[in-house]
Symmetry: C2
Subunit: 371 residues, 2 copies
Amino acid sequence: MKHPASRRPTVSIRTVAEAAGVSTATVSRVLSQADHPVSDSTRERVLEAAASLKFRPSHVARSLVTSRTRTIGAIVHDVADPYFGEILRGLEDTFHAGGYQLVACSSDRDPVRELGYVEHLLAQRVDGIVFVGGGIEDEAYGHKLESLLDEYRDGGGVVVLLAPNAYDAPAVVSNNEMGSVSMTEYLIGLGHRRIGFVGGPSTVRTSAVRQSGYQSAMQRAGLFDPILMESGEFTMEGGAQAAATLLARDSEMSAIFAMNDIMALGALKHLAGVGVNVPDQISVAGFDDIQIAEFVRPGLSTVSVGTFGLGEAGARLAMRLLTGRSGSTTVLPVELVIRGSTAPPPGGLDRRRAMRPGAKDLGQGNEEERS
Amino acid sequence: MKHPASRRPTVSIRTVAEAAGVSTATVSRVLSQADHPVSDSTRERVLEAAASLKFRPSHVARSLVTSRTRTIGAIVHDVADPYFGEILRGLEDTFHAGGYQLVACSSDRDPVRELGYVEHLLAQRVDGIVFVGGGIEDEAYGHKLESLLDEYRDGGGVVVLLAPNAYDAPAVVSNNEMGSVSMTEYLIGLGHRRIGFVGGPSTVRTSAVRQSGYQSAMQRAGLFDPILMESGEFTMEGGAQAAATLLARDSEMSAIFAMNDIMALGALKHLAGVGVNVPDQISVAGFDDIQIAEFVRPGLSTVSVGTFGLGEAGARLAMRLLTGRSGSTTVLPVELVIRGSTAPPPGGLDRRRAMRPGAKDLGQGNEEERS
DNA sequence: CTGCGCGGGGTAAACGTTTACATCCTGCCG
DNA sequence: CGGCAGGATGTAAACGTTTACCCCGCGCAG
């Protein structure tokens, strides 16, 4: 069945045209459903010929002449990180429904690698680029990226941001600041005074924004102490280490707020490992509400950003831009999701700040209408 | 800075040629580092012109003439599932290093959707397709896929499988059968008699293979009882539901073996929810060893397949095939990873079948040498 | 009867590369 | 000194589409 050496001659639009006894123009008109009129009988013959020859129009040839590839590049930090995986899924589904292909690139938060991917995407002539992960703070990198992206958009490319970034472009972001403030205030309301913060690498903008939310809430309550902040890699290991450091540093700490769920999960593991009970002895909270957050024990209290929805909204924005319509930056509301990992501090005065467990919507930022 | 309407004329190889005072052929030779000789002075001038014009060679034009896109399609069940995310990362890194781009497609285990993606990838003229998820059993679908793929390979396309599939192509698979048998035997060795099995949809081949491993091990031990098998969606919810069903169905069940970690996590959640202690009352085991497995409490005992490594090996195989070298099916060894979620049954006679916790390598299947 | 609009179809020029082939030198071997 | 092997460069034909233009014939309004 398999003839390794018999790479049969590719069947092109010309082959079909000959078989159907028409010109290539007609074939193209039938197959690309252009609005040019074609008689039913001709259409029929063309369709038949195409089918029997198993003709498969070449997207690359088509792209060359139309200068649109119907492909979108998505730059994430790491596809293996569930946060990005979920957003990617939202992007993919929406783009796919709109006839676009998605190519995912893991930058690993490395400026060089990210730049390399961007250049590659430009060379591929993707119609748009979605930056899913937060921007990376790096002088040289920032300049280069900016010039690259400006050039790209000048040429008709579309750029969409899904997280805080130094570069200015249409974006869909969740309300990081508010989410962070709310969670911090919630913990304070439970009676916690010494609340640790586990951040990510300071070069990632999202991390900085969330940290600033925590910081301002703590300051307003007169509880801020820089000693309570520690950062690590954006991984479970990173979260575990940061938690360990914090724990060793301040024996009165009764809560840990991690800037994302992955790190919070790491903290959870570390605490269990050293025999600290969560939430009886120490409360733990995360950010993002990735799927797994609901399934660990105790359930992780977190700030839900609606990962899938974020991806969908991002794709919709990009497609709106691609079709020439305008679309501007939107901030998506976040939602506090309280599960079992948070509770009043041990023996702490539970002030019962009427905050019912469950979901509290933190509106602000208007979700745009469906298109 | 941004002139919305001034889409400056694209700079092509011709523009560069004129600027450098040479022919397009020369420019091409310099920029695509062909082996054709070019004098240093000319090369210099071309490079300079290209840089100052910000010339960016079009991959699509290049692809049209070379009929190679340096793009690979990966078909997974769901990018938001950590198992696939991790494999994708392995694929991506390796392909990227080899100069290939990866486009990921989530089939959602829907034959129609998967077929649609495959056709799209063919139209895109990707150089290869990697099927990451297990094949879907569906008569009509199977035929269509087979003819599509045969046609594709006839035309020079490369197909690689990363899981059991009805379609025959070079593959890298982990030893599912053996992993399943080993875990089952391990549980039996701990003293469990009533061991439940949580499978995925029966249309997915991987699930069937793992189930058969469980089944044969149980039969050999004279413990098999079809009532102990239940299946559900490949999600945490699916695992939770299946666990619930099993629990209600057999009150003597002391262990649950889920066909993948995601479902095991769901089972874990359900058990905790209904107040069943793991592993004191019921042991739980999974399959895959996704990253999170180590970070839940109790740590999940599972069969490690080395997700990243699987992706890497798959990409290496594909690239070997792409460069004309041959490569054949490899089966990767799996490894039993025992964590806290498994223990002897309550009050059960712990036969102390000398099985030390930790990692036990289940060799067989020779990992190929690095290329 | 003339002319115009339009349905239906063809011709050929792009699109931006790569590459087979031809051309022209220059130097070296016999 | 003739010829020949390369080195260096150019010419132009692909690659597989789309699409701007052109052409023909027919029906119908004026």
